[in-house]
C-alpha cells in the first residue's frame, strides 16, 4: 500500500488521472474506513483561502486540520455550528481530522437537531472526479440555486464520487454561554417524550440527549445556548416543561455543560469498551422500541432519540436485530471482516440503489474511489 500526498489540486488531479488501481481518498484517516488500494491523502492541501467573519463565510482547502479551522473561527467568536464529532477516542485511531474528511463523511454532532447537518453548512466544493477532472459546484454565498446542488451530493459521499480539494462553508456566531437542564431517573420511553417536549418548545434547544447508564443514574440532558440572560430565562422555562416528567436540575456552569456535550458528541461512554459500535438514525418516537430490539450492551441517545448509538458484541448483525424501521444503521466500529460482510452502510431499496450506482458510475467511471464501500454488502 502506497500513501500519496499531493501538494496541490493540480497534482491531485494528475495522480487520479494516472491511477491504475483503486484509491482510498483520505483526510486524516481517523474515521475507521477500511482501506482498499493506495491511500490518496489530501493532507498536503491545506490553508485558508478566504475568511469573512462579517459574511459568515470560510473557504478552506480540504486537507486543513479541523483543529486549525476551529481555532481560527474561535478567534472571531464564531464556530462550526454542526459540531463535528472526533472519532479518535471511540476508534482508537491516530492522525489529524481534516475539514474535507468532516464533509466527506457528513459528520454532525448534537446540535444537528437544531442547526442542521454538516451538509447544510457546505456552500461550495472543488473536487477531482474519477476521470481526474477538477469540478466546481456551489460557491461561497448562502443562497445559491444556480444549477444542480452537487455540494449536497458530495457531502456524505465518503470519497466515492470524487476527492474534495476545497470547501466553502457557512459559519455561525459562537454562543456567549450555555447551560444544561437535566431530567433524572426516567426510562427511555419517558426520556424520548420529554426530549420531544423540549425540542417542540419555542426555547431553541440546541441539544437533547439521553444516557440510560450515566454514573448518577439515567439522565436526559437538554442544552440551551445564547446570551446569558436569555439562557437563564430559557432554562427556567424548560425546567417547567420538563418538570412534569420527573426531577429536574439545572447545570449553569458553562464549562461543565460544554464537557457534557463534548462527551455526548464523541460518545465518550463507549471509549475503551469492547465490541462493535453502530449508529442508527431513526424516527425519534420509534427509538425506544428499536433500542429494545437491539439487545445492546450499551446505548446512548442523541437528537431527541433520533440518533441511537449502540455497542454490541463483535460481528453482531445489528440490522437483523433492528428489523425494518424508518431510517438507517451504519457501522462505526467493527472489524474489516464484519464491515465487508454486513456493509458499513444500510442497503438501499433496489430503485434507490440503482440511482446511487448510476451516479457513482458517472462520477467515477473506472470505479477507483473506495470501491465497494457504499455498495450493498455480501450478506445484506
Amino acid at each position: 500500500m502506497k500513501i500519496m500526498t499531493p501538494a496541490t489540486e493540480a497534482e491531485l488531479a494528475e495522480l487520479v488521472a494516472g491511477a491504475y488501481g483503486p484509491l482510498a481518498p483520505r483526510g486524516g484517516n481517523t474515521r475507521g474506513v477500511p482501506v482498499v488500494g493506495d491511500i490518496l491523502s489530501v493532507a498536503g492541501l491545506r490553508g485558508v483561502e478566504l475568511y469573512e467573519p462579517g459574511a459568515l463565510t470560510l473557504v478552506v482547502k480540504a486537507g486543513t486540520p479541523l483543529a486549525e479551522v476551529e481555532q481560527l473561527l474561535a478567534g472571531e467568536n464564531q464556530r462550526l455550528a454542526f459540531e463535528p464529532m472526533d472519532l479518535r477516542g471511540l476508534l482508537g485511531t491516530k492522525g489529524e481530522p481534516t475539514i474535507g474528511g468532516v464533509f466527506a463523511a457528513n459528520v454532525s454532532g448534537p446540535r444537528r437537531v437544531q442547526a442542521g447537518a454538516a451538509r447544510d453548512f457546505l456552500l461550495g466544493v472543488r473536487y477531482v472526479d474519477g476521470g481526474g477532472r477538477v469540478i466546481r459546484n456551489g460557491g461561497r454565498v448562502m443562497k445559491n440555486v444556480t444549477g444542480y446542488d452537487l455540494v449536497k451530493l458530495m457531502a456524505g459521499s465518503w470519497g466515492t464520487l470524487g476527492v474534495l480539494s476545497e470547501v466553502s462553508l457557512k459559519v455561525l456566531p459562537r454562543a456567549e454561554t450555555q447551560a444544561t437542564v437535566r431530567l433524572h431517573g426516567v426510562d427511555v420511553k419517558v426520556a424520548v417524550k420529554a426530549m420531544a417536549a423540549a425540542l417542540g418548545s419555542p426555547f431553541e434547544v440546541t441539544g437533547a440527549a439521553h444516557d440510560p447508564a450515566a454514573a448518577e443514574g439515567p439522565v436526559v440532558m437538554v442544552r440551551i445556548e445564547g446570551f446569558e440572560a436569555s439562557v437563564a430565562y430559557r432554562c427556567a422555562r424548560l425546567t417547567e416543561v420538563l418538570r412534569i416528567f420527573g426531577d429536574v436540575s439545572v447545570l449553569d456552569d458553562p464549562d461543565a455543560s460544554a464537557v457534557i456535550w463534548r462527551d455526548i458528541r464523541d460518545v465518550a461512554a463507549f471509549h475503551g469498551k469492547p465490541g462493535d459500535v453502530w449508529r442508527l438514525s431513526v424516527k425519534p418516537s420509534e427509538a425506544p422500541e428499536i433500542a429494545e430490539r437491539l439487545q445492546a450492551d450499551a446505548l446512548l441517545f442523541d437528537w431527541g432519540g433520533g440518533l441511537i448509538w449502540a455497542r454490541v458484541p463483535e460481528g453482531t448483525n445489528l440490522r437483523a436485530r433492528a428489523g425494518a424501521f424508518d431510517g438507517h444503521a451504519t457501522i462505526i466500529r467493527a472489524s474489516v471482516d464484519t464491515c465487508s460482510r454486513l456493509g458499513m452502510f444500510q442497503p438501499e431499496p433496489a430503485t434507490v440503489a440503482a440511482l446511487s450506482r448510476g451516479l457513482r458510475a458517472k462520477f467515477d467511471p473506472r470505479g477507483i474511489f473506495n470501491p465497494g464501500l457504499m455498495d450493498a454488502p455480501v450478506e445484506a
Binding site: E52, P53, G54, A55, T57, N106, S108, R112, A117, R119, D120, R133, V134, I135, R136, N137, G139, R140, V141, M142, K143, N144, V145, T146, G147, Y148, D149, L150, V151, K152, L153, A155, G156, L161, P173, E176, A196, L199, G200, S201, P202, F227, A229, S230, Y233, S281, K283, P284, S285, D326, G327, H328, A329, F345, Q346, T351, V352, L355, K362, M374
Partner: protein, 482 residues
C-alpha cells in the same frame, strides 16, 4: 430567448397520446383543447408564452406514474408544474410537451408534532402547510414571497428561500423526504421522518433540480415551534456603504437576526409614494428583525441599536407595538407592488458576498445610466441575496431586450464579485444561457451527468437550466429513440 423547435412527429401523435392518458386518468384530468391548454402557456415569467400540446392534472402518485410511463413510451417531453409562480420560466412549456400539473394533489397526509414533521402532497401551497399546523403553534420555515400561491413541488424544484432564511435556511435545509416518480414511471422513496441519508444524499441533489430529475408527489417537511415573539427595528443611513458595514458589524457581534432587509433610495421613494409607510428619505434603509421572549428581544435590539448608532443613522426606529411593526414591514412587503404601479419590471435574484454590497450597488447605478433604465434594489442583506428591479415599458419596442441585456450584466457582475446568478428563483429558461459565466463546460457536464442517471432519455423539462447548445445532443437522442 430561444426554445427547441417542436417535433412534428410528436405533434402528429397528439390524439393517440391524449387517448392513452385518458385511459389512466379521470376524464377531466386530460386537457387537449387549444383554448384550455392556453391556461398553461406560461408561468410568472410572462414575457414568454407557448401553449403545451396537452396538460394533465393527476390526483395521485399512481396517476403521475402512469402519465410518466406513457409519455416515456411515447417519447413526449413532460414539463412539471406546481402553481406556475416561477419567475425564471421553470414551467414554460414547448408546443410538443405535456404539462403535468400537481395542483390537484394538495392533501395533508400526516402531521406529527412529537417528531416535528408534516407529510403533504406536493401540490399543497407553501402557506397552507403552515396553516395546517399553526393552531398547535408550529410553522414551516421557508417563506418565499409568493407563499400564498406557490406549491411545495415548485419550492422543492427551485430550492426556494424567503426572508427568514438567515436563521432557518432554505427548502433543502427543511426537507426530510420525498416520494418521487422517475420519467419511466418508477416510484422512489427517499428520506423520511429520520435525519440524514443512509447512503448518497440523493435528496440533496433532487432539491433544486428544477423538475428535471423526477416529479415529486409527496414531501416530508420539518416543522418548528413558533418563537414567542418577533420585533423589527428600522434604520436609515446616508450611504449604501455605511448600511453594508452596519450589517457586517451586526453579524460579527454574534447576534443572528431572523431577517435583515435592505432597500435603496429608488426603492424607498417608490414604496413610500405607494404605501405611505412613513419611511425616512435616505440613501439606504435596513429592517432588522429578531425573535424570542420580550426580554430577549429587548436585549438583542439594544445590542443592534448600539451597533447602528456607531454608524450615525439618520433614523433609528423600534416598533413599540404590533401596529408599528406592521408599518415597518408595510413598505418592504409592498415594494414589488409599488414598482408594478410605476412600470413593468424584471426582478433578478443574483446573490453576492455581503461585503461586496456597496461596490455592486455603485456599479448597478452606473449601468442604469448606460442602459437608460431605472433600477431599484431591495435585498436580503443577511445572506447577500439581491433583488434588483429593473423598470421597463413592455409596450415600447426594444425595451424588454434592453432590460434583459441590463439584467444579464448585473448577473455577470454578481458572479464576478464571487456570487452567483440566482439565489432563490432558479435558472429556468431565464438564466440558462448565462450558466457558462458561472461554470465551466466540465462543471456543467458533471451536473448534466446527474440527469443522465435519473432521466436518461432527457424527457423531463429538457430545455431548462443548461445552455441549449450543451444539451442539444442529449435532447436529440430522445428524439432519435422514438
Amino acid at each position: 430567448m430561444e426554445m427547441p423547435r417542436p417535433d412534428p412527429a410528436i405533434l402528429a401523435r397528439k390524439a393517440r397520446v391524449a387517448q392513452r392518458l385518458r385511459e389512466v386518468l379521470p376524464p377531466d384530468a386530460v386537457i387537449d383543447d387549444d383554448s384550455e391548454t392556453r391556461v398553461y402557456e406560461c408561468d410568472a415569467l410572462t414575457a414568454y408564452k407557448c401553449p403545451p400540446m396537452l396538460a394533465v392534472l393527476p390526483g395521485s402518485t399512481q396517476e403521475v406514474s402512469d402519465v410518466l410511463r406513457i409519455c416515456h413510451e411515447e417519447g413526449v417531453p413532460v414539463v412539471p408544474r406546481g402553481s406556475g409562480t416561477s419567475l425564471a420560466g421553470g414551467a414554460l412549456p414547448t408546443a410538443d410537451s405535456v404539462i403535468l400539473g400537481v395542483a390537484r394533489m394538495n392533501d395533508v397526509l400526516e402531521v406529527d408534532y412529537e417528531n416535528r414533521f408534516i407529510r403533504v402532497q406536493s401540490g399543497r401551497t407553501n402557506l397552507s402547510v403552515t396553516g395546517a399546523v399553526e393552531e398547535e403553534g408550529f410553522f414551516y420555515a421557508p417563506d418565499p414571497s409568493s407563499q400564498l400561491a406557490c406549491a411545495i413541488a415548485g419550492n422543492i424544484a427551485m430550492n426556494s428561500g424567503g426572508a427568514h432564511c438567515l436563521k432557518y435556511g432554505v427548502t433543502t435545509n427543511n426537507l426530510l423526504g420525498v416520494t418521487m416518480v422517475l420519467m419511466d414511471g418508477t416510484v422512489v422513496e427517499i428520506g423520511g421522518a429520520h435525519l440524514d441519508a443512509g447512503g448518497l444524499d440523493l435528496l440533496g441533489v433532487i432539491c433544486g433540480s428544477e423538475g428535471q430529475l423526477g416529479v415529486v408527489t409527496e414531501a416530508t417537511l420539518r416543522i418548528l415551534h413558533k418563537p414567542e415573539g418577533a420585533r423589527p427595528v428600522l434604520m436609515g443611513f446616508d450611504s449604501n456603504e455605511v448600511a453594508g458595514a452596519c450589517v457586517s458589524d451586526i453579524i460579527k457581534a454574534g447576534v443572528l437576526p431572523v431577517a435583515i432587509e435592505f432597500m435603496d433610495r429608488p426603492c424607498i421613494e417608490a414604496t413610500e409614494a405607494f404605501a405611505h409607510a412613513g419611511y425616512p428619505m435616505c440613501e439606504a434603509l435596513l429592517i432588522v428583525e429578531v425573535e424570542g421572549s420580550e426580554a430577549e428581544i429587548d436585549f438583542q435590539l439594544a445590542k443592534i441599536k448600539e451597533i447602528a448608532r456607531r454608524h450615525d443613522p439618520v433614523e433609528l426606529r423600534e416598533a413599540a407595538d404590533e401596529d408599528e411593526a406592521a408599518r415597518i414591514w408595510l413598505g418592504r412587503k409592498s415594494a414589488f407592488g409599488a414598482m408594478g404601479q410605476i412600470n413593468d419590471y424584471m426582478c433578478l435574484d443574483g446573490t453576492i458576498p455581503v461585503t461586496a454590497l456597496p461596490q455592486v450597488l455603485r456599479r448597478i447605478g452606473e449601468m442604469s445610466k448606460k442602459f437608460g433604465l431605472e433600477v431599484a434594489n431591495v435585498f436580503h442583506a443577511g445572506d447577500g441575496n439581491m433583488h434588483p428591479l429593473i423598470l421597463f415599458d413592455a409596450n415600447k419596442p426594444g425595451d424588454l431586450e434592453t432590460c434583459e441585456a441590463f439584467g444579464a450584466e448585473i448577473l455577470k457582475l454578481c458572479v464576478e464579485v464571487g456570487g452567483c446568478l440566482t439565489g432563490e428563483h432558479g435558472v429556468g429558461v431565464e438564466k440558462r444561457e448565462l450558466m457558462l459565466h458561472q461554470y465551466s463546460r466540465e462543471d456543467l457536464e458533471a451536473q448534466m451527468a446527474v440527469k443522465d442517471v435519473f432521466d436518461p432519455a432527457w424527457l423531463l423539462n429538457p430545455a431548462k437550466v443548461f445552455p441549449l447548445s450543451l444539451t442539444e445532443e442529449r435532447r436529440a437522442m430522445a428524439v432519435a429513440a422514438e
